[in-house]
Symmetry: C2
Subunit: 172 residues, 2 copies
């Protein structure tokens, strides 16, 4: 059982400035990338590993987009990372994932993080006037939504471990 | 403008045997993989290329699953590939994609192919009694649905080429 800090509720987002929220978003993308990368390194199922590596790569790209957005919005200012965050704080996976229950739990947290990330970007979009920035935030929301479905598809099949392990050539 | 053979309508699926339909499905997965691989090779935008490579890898895995399903369902029998197919027949991309309109058109065809593939697997699931096979077909349907959304996300951003090209560092 993993202990997870669930962060501030989404409704509290309005109490922060756009600058603080972008800082939170960048921090969250770094956290998500580290999570997927470390999970990929600790999973032996090739299909799942490839999906996790793909997700890690996408989150890395998101971080880059957000840093650019930050630089455009607050030129010359260093990024401030607030201590608060939105949604479950994903921690890197430190050891081999040995059983399907742990795998399911990790995916469940990741799904929840993606679901909230999508809502978060939609909220940031609402707070933004500039059309180009709105477009980027909508794109990010849409990608996190896609990530949610990638994870959900795998999760649902993993629930039937007997079939999953047969299909993926797992075990002896 | 690409000419596309749209294949047999989904309603006609009932006129074929499960064996023929599995043959069609395997052929379609091979076609989709070749399409994504060739499109990835002819696209210069890194983010998009990575997505296409990911999709190609997934379709390759699908082919493998379907071959296994075929072998279990019709042991010892060689796969027969019917000349019919369901949904748009994706042809490999033979040259560098030079403008955004061509890119959009190709993605639109791929989206349509994924949408129909999802429906097709759902129909195959209905035609199948065995629970393990049903599970696999549901998984395939769910993955094609995810592919559809991956493409849709990219498509919608590509519609605003000015922003897209800025974000993706395209051009001089």
């Amino acid at each position: 059982m993993v202990e997870i800090d669930m962060g501030i509720p989404l409704e509290k987002v309005n109490e922060f400035s756009l600058k603080e929220l972008l800082g939170m978003a960048i921090k969250a993308e770094i956290g998500a990338r580290e999570f997927y990368k470390s999970m990929a390194a600790n999973v032996e199922i090739e299909t799942l590993r490839k999906k996790l590596e793909f997700l890690a790569g996408e989150e890395e790209k998101h971080e880059e987009f957000l840093r650019k957005l930050y630089a455009q919005s607050f030129p010359g200012e260093e990024i401030a990372f607030p201590k608060e965050h939105v949604g479950p704080e994903l921690k890197p996976v430190a050891e081999k994932i040995k059983n399907v229950q742990d795998m399911l739990e990790l995916i469940r947290w990741a799904m929840e993080a993606e679901r909230i990330a999508k809502e978060f970007y939609s909220k940031l979009e609402e707070m933004t006037d500039d059309n180009a920035k709105k477009g980027l935030l909508r794109y990010l929301a849409s990608m996190e939504n896609t990530h949610y479905f990638i994870l959900k598809t795998e999760y649902e099949l993993l629930l039937d471990w007997e079939m999953y392990s047969q299909m993926m050539h797992v075990g002896p």
